[in-house]
């Protein structure tokens, strides 16, 4: 038996570890460093209908135990991803979760319709939480009704299960989670980045050219755990958790909080081998905890 296997809507995962969207490109770079078939899945960079240039630079800044980014969804566009990126990934035995973004509902729908037909795309991740674009993105993720409608519209066209990625920049994430569940989401991924800012010490001006950026890394882990803890207890769909995961212990924490699988973002920049390293370390962690299969840990923070 594979002690790490996880089954989620549309996804048969060898293990619950996958790189988070935007932190792994379309796999080509890390694919030179290790065998991508080791991964549970890959969440590819957000894909929009048209190619996007993204924001001006600087796009990243370091913060205590974290970083800010304002990439602004730079990507080669739907056609580029369908023609160049996804076919390249087919050489690996790994399911792809396609992160879908847009400016209006029609964009999301169009991208979802097409990208969900790619043979290796096993699920979509609806990005209604990107804080770094002026239109779309987070505006879809802060209003429950809009989030529900968008989810339903995408569900109607997608050939694969739809996960919705939630923003932590809301008063009540439970409300948004319930809304997307009503909209037909097959799963939830959370959290996207918190909004933050860093100033240049000398000039006092924002370092990030886009002024604000999304905060990720260990600094946000407590916020992510708390939201997953709350949401997982009220929805009936699985959660893929993320936000500051650096090592195998963090993975255990996220599963304990209620996530069924996890994504690793910022940590890839710190250690490009972090995903395979975690996968390797997990069985020993299970032994320590006296657990046979990793799924036994899911939600143990509130299960008696």
């Amino acid at each position: 038996m594979n002690r790490l296997s996880v089954e989620l809507p549309g996804l048969q995962l060898k293990n619950p570890i996958m790189p988070a969207s935007g932190c792994f490109g379309f796999g080509q770079e890390y694919g030179k460093m290790y065998d991508l078939s080791l991964l549970g899945a890959i969440m590819i960079k957000a894909t929009t209908l048209e190619p996007r240039l993204g924001n001006p630079t600087p796009r990243v800044a370091e913060t205590p135990s974290g970083m800010l980014n304002a990439i602004g969804l730079q990507n080669p566009g739907l056609t580029g991803v369908m023609e160049n990126e996804l076919p390249w990934l087919e050489q690996f035995d790994v399911p792809i979760i396609a992160n879908v973004a847009g400016t209006e509902t029609a964009d999301y729908v169009e991208v979802a319709k097409v990208i969900s037909t790619a043979p290796n795309v096993h699920a979509l991740e609806l990005n209604i939480s990107c804080p770094n674009v002026k239109e779309g993105g987070i505006t879809f993720g802060t209003d429950p009704l809009i989030a529900e409608e968008l989810t339903a519209a995408v569900k109607a066209v997608s050939k694969v299960p739809v996960y919705v990625k939630l923003s932590p920049n809301v008063t009540d994430v439970k409300e948004i989670a319930l809304a997307v569940e009503r909209g037909g989401a097959d799963g939830i991924t959370m959290i996207n980045t918190l909004l933050g800012m860093r100033l240049d010490e000398k000039t006092g001006k924002p370092i990030i050219a886009n002024v604000t950026g999304g905060l990720s890394g260990p600094a946000v882990k407590p916020v992510a755990l708390k939201m997953i803890y709350e949401v997982s207890q009220i929805v009936n769909v699985p959660i893929i958790g993320m936000g500051g995961i650096m090592n195998a212990q963090d993975v255990i924490d996220f599963l304990s909080a209620g996530a069924s699988a996890v994504a690793v973002g910022t940590a890839n920049f710190v250690n490009p081998f972090v995903c395979p390293t975690i996968i390797e370390e997990l069985p020993a962690k299970l032994d320590e905890l006296g657990v046979e299969h990793i799924s036994e840990l899911v939600g143990r923070s509130y299960r008696s």
């Binding site: 935007g22 932190c23 792994f24 490109g25 080509q28 770079e29 890390y30 030179k32 460093m33 960079k45 190619p51 240039l53 993204g54 630079t57 600087p58 796009r59 990243v60 800044a61 370091e62 205590p64 135990s65 974290g66 970083m67 980014n69 990439i71 730079q74 080669p76 890394g217 260990p218 600094a219 650096m246 910022t266 890839n268 920049f269 710190v270 250690n271 490009p272 081998f273």
Partner: protein, 258 residues
Amino acid sequence: MIIQESMLVQSQREIAHNIFEMKLQGKLVQEIQAPGQFIHIRVSEAFDMLLRRPISIASIDQESDEITIIYRAEGDGTRSLSKRNEGDRVDVLGPLGNGFPIAETKAGEVAYLIGGGIGVPPLYELSKQLTAKGVTCVHILGFQSENVVFYEEEFKALGETYIVTVDGTIGTEGFVTTVMENLSEQFATYYSCGPQPMLKAVQEMYANKKGYLSFEERMGCGVGACFACVCKTTERAEANYIKVCSDGPVFPAGVIAI
């Protein structure tokens, strides 16, 4: 191949005010393809300073598996790096990026190597390799002030070397362009690394010459995956940005919009 390695600090010394020279030993040295490539250094095991720091490879000794880096201890990360001692280990990812093309200058030709401040280091290995091949190197090196000048003797040993400082405390007073104005344009290729305004001035002055420029941009991954370090290209305004970390940091003159 890019590898991640815990490299051994062979030595560390302050060679100018806040400028440190560190020698690192490890097997990634065997992977280096060209001068101008860089390494991505984790400056602390703690999460405080999460992002790696990109630092150019200043000198390569493949026989002893050793590289030299030269960096300014300015922010928190480089300051912390400057406290490592001989025998310590440093977590390094590399070699990264594409360096300066040596092949673009033939034996017997003249190359101008133009560096500014902390952009000077990669030119040292470049000069060593060009000189070894029979290229005549002329070095034009600009600094703020005398107290931050480094490697003057090392460059002189390789060829003609002009030092220029903004405050005139040593060498010519002014900018690298002040020296360039008085130099012949009888050279085959120029190679340059330094602050963007300098690169811009150099490129303009030598507009009809073959040249290679090394760029800097804030980085996330350092390997091409995160789209943090992009620059606009001159070619098509609506085209994709180009990545400094994996497409560069060295680009032929004219490629990047500056």
